[in-house]
């Protein structure tokens, strides 16, 4: 069978916050960009973030993620240098830098001069008895169900995990009219920003730190959950069991970077728990150990969307520069973007990311 390969300048894989910003930055520098996203609409996880973002006022803080998604998508769709392909799944990164893409039941291959991998992350799950009962979801999946499709998964939910995603999704489930029985968090402290925690707490949701889910209850679907306190070794503390009547359990226990394509490309990966798992080694330009292959956003290490947008822009800028674009404006723009990214990571809550990055950075 005949198989044609088309050549493009820069391919961006993934149209979430990192990918959209990467495509725009590279295209604004003058490069031709092909943006590929497997979903039917661009925006990635931004399209369900109905809350206001933190970050810097000069970079969309206090705007809602859904509005940022609409704005960036609009810019990408109308940019003369960007070809945005939705419903396009990159299924393989082959030798010689060829990408295999499936779209509308057809397969095609492209060979980009530069690739920016912005594939995001997947939700982690948890092992506990009866964790396969219908009614147990990832918190991110429920956020999609509720905020994108307008479907409630049940009436009363237990949230497992008090990081930003767990607490934000809890708040949004309350907004959507669900009851939240409790949030449990295995760590002794709430991982979410405390203002988020205060918001759900005053709306009546108890938060139990040093607690975990012991098991789900039910026969054909979730009818309840047992939670208990855990000691420093993670062992249940006798006598602390609580039975909760819930029909839904949401797991918000972290994300894993999606690095399969980077692994196929031959990028060296390193295990960095602070960044969510295996991530590619990269230099300050976001280039991996494979020349011409860049990474940005959660695929480079799980972080906030505000940081993903900055990383995407930096990767797009560097990829375009390496092809000869924007040689005069490059340095000023690079310094500006890098400064903004560093400032997002500079405070005490950025400590985990900074220590993780120190193990993933090269050069």
């Amino acid at each position: 069978m005949r198989q044609e390969i088309s050549f493009v300048e820069i391919a961006v894989i993934g149209g979430g916050p990192a990918g959209l910003c990467a495509a725009l930055e590279a295209a604004n520098a003058g490069a031709r960009v092909t943006l590929l996203d497997r979903q039917d609409r661009l925006g990635g996880q931004l399209i369900k973030q109905t809350h206001r973002f933190f970050g810097s006022q000069s970079h969309r803080a206090s705007e809602r993620g859904i509005n940022i998604a609409a704005e960036l998508t609009g810019q990408v769709m109308s940019h003369p240098h960007i070809e945005a392909l939705t419903g396009a799944t990159v299924f393989g990164f082959y030798e010689d830098g060829v990408l295999g893409v499936e779209r509308e039941g057809k397969i095609f291959f492209i060979k980009p001069a530069r690739v920016i991998v912005a594939t995001g992350a997947a939700e982690k799950t948890l092992a506990f008895p009866n964790n396969d009962l219908p009614g147990i979801y990832g918190a991110g999946a429920v956020q999609t169900l509720v905020n994108v499709y307008g479907v409630l998964p049940g009436k009363r939910v237990l949230m497992v995990g008090a990081g930003n995603i767990g607490v934000i999704v809890t708040y949004q489930l309350l907004q959507a009219g669900m009851e939240v029985a409790a949030i449990v968090e295995a760590a002794p402290k709430i991982g979410a920003y405390w203002v988020h925690a205060a918001k759900v707490r005053r709306a009546g949701v108890p938060i139990y730190t040093s607690h975990t889910i012991g098991r789900a209850c039910g026969t054909r679907q979730v009818e309840g959950a047992v939670i208990w306190q855990i000691d420093e070794q993670g062992q249940p503390v006798p006598g602390t069991e609580k039975d909760l009547v819930v029909d839904t359990i949401c797991l918000s226990v972290g994300l894993s970077p999606l690095v399969e394509l980077l692994a196929q490309a031959g990028c060296r990966l390193v295990y960095v728990p602070q960044l969510g798992g295996h991530v590619p080694l990269r230099d300050a330009s976001l280039q991996t150990t494979v020349p011409g292959v860049y990474v940005a956003g959660d695929a480079a290490g799980v972080e906030e969307a505000s940081a993903a947008m900055m990383e995407g822009a930096l990767a797009g800028l560097h990829a375009a520069y390496s092809l000869g674009y924007n040689q005069t404006g490059y340095e000023a723009r690079r310094a500006e973007l890098q400064q903004q990214l560093d400032s997002l990571r500079s405070g005490p809550v950025g400590e985990k990311i900074r220590s993780g990055l120190s193990r993933a950075m090269i050069g």
Partner: protein, 161 residues
């Protein structure tokens, strides 16, 4: 404790509450933000620069009580919904709280609701004085709530009965 259960301690709050003589004079914003996080919209929100400017995006907001006149324009700019205006001059026995609210249905003006504290407990009857919601506020309403004066530093939410 905030980090453990999401409720600030009296010691946490003591740093955020203006002196009694200031509270007695005119309304003022209480910035219930206790953690240095990368976030700065409040520092750009005040037309009188009562908050900010920040040197560092991770700064915790400090309110200049002399500059703040309690207008409440900052309330909807805070992504953490942590800004509240308290007016102890509102009435003989009542204080006015202006708080951010993102639930539907919105209450009616004049409606009686339950005042709720930071732990989610109903602590009093409260009256909705005004519901402010404009296009610019981007779906975060500000509710003016009349509460018993002695609970002005307790009520931070409400429940529609």
């Amino acid at each position: 404790m905030l980090a453990v259960d999401g409720v600030p301690t009296p010691e946490d709050l003591a740093q955020k509450i203006p002196p009694p003589e200031r509270l007695a004079r005119r309304p003022v914003v209480i910035a219930e933000c206790f953690q240095p996080i990368p976030c700065d919209p409040c520092s750009h929100a005040c037309p009188r620069q009562a908050i900010g400017p920040f040197k560092d995006i991770n700064e915790i907001p400090q309110v200049d009580y002399e500059k703040c006149n309690g207008c409440g324009q900052c309330i909807t700019r805070c992504p953490g919904l942590a800004l509240f205006v308290v007016d102890l001059t509102y009435g003989e026995n009542e204080a006015l709280i202006k708080l951010p609210y993102e639930f539907l249905p919105l209450p009616e003006e004049g409606q009686e609701v339950a005042g709720v504290n930071r732990a989610g407990e109903k602590v009093c009857r409260a009256r909705v004085v005004k519901v402010v919601k404009t296009e610019k506020m981007d779906k975060t309403a500000v509710i003016w709530l009349a509460v018993p004066k002695d609970l002005a530093m307790e009520v931070r939410h409400f429940a529609i009965k």
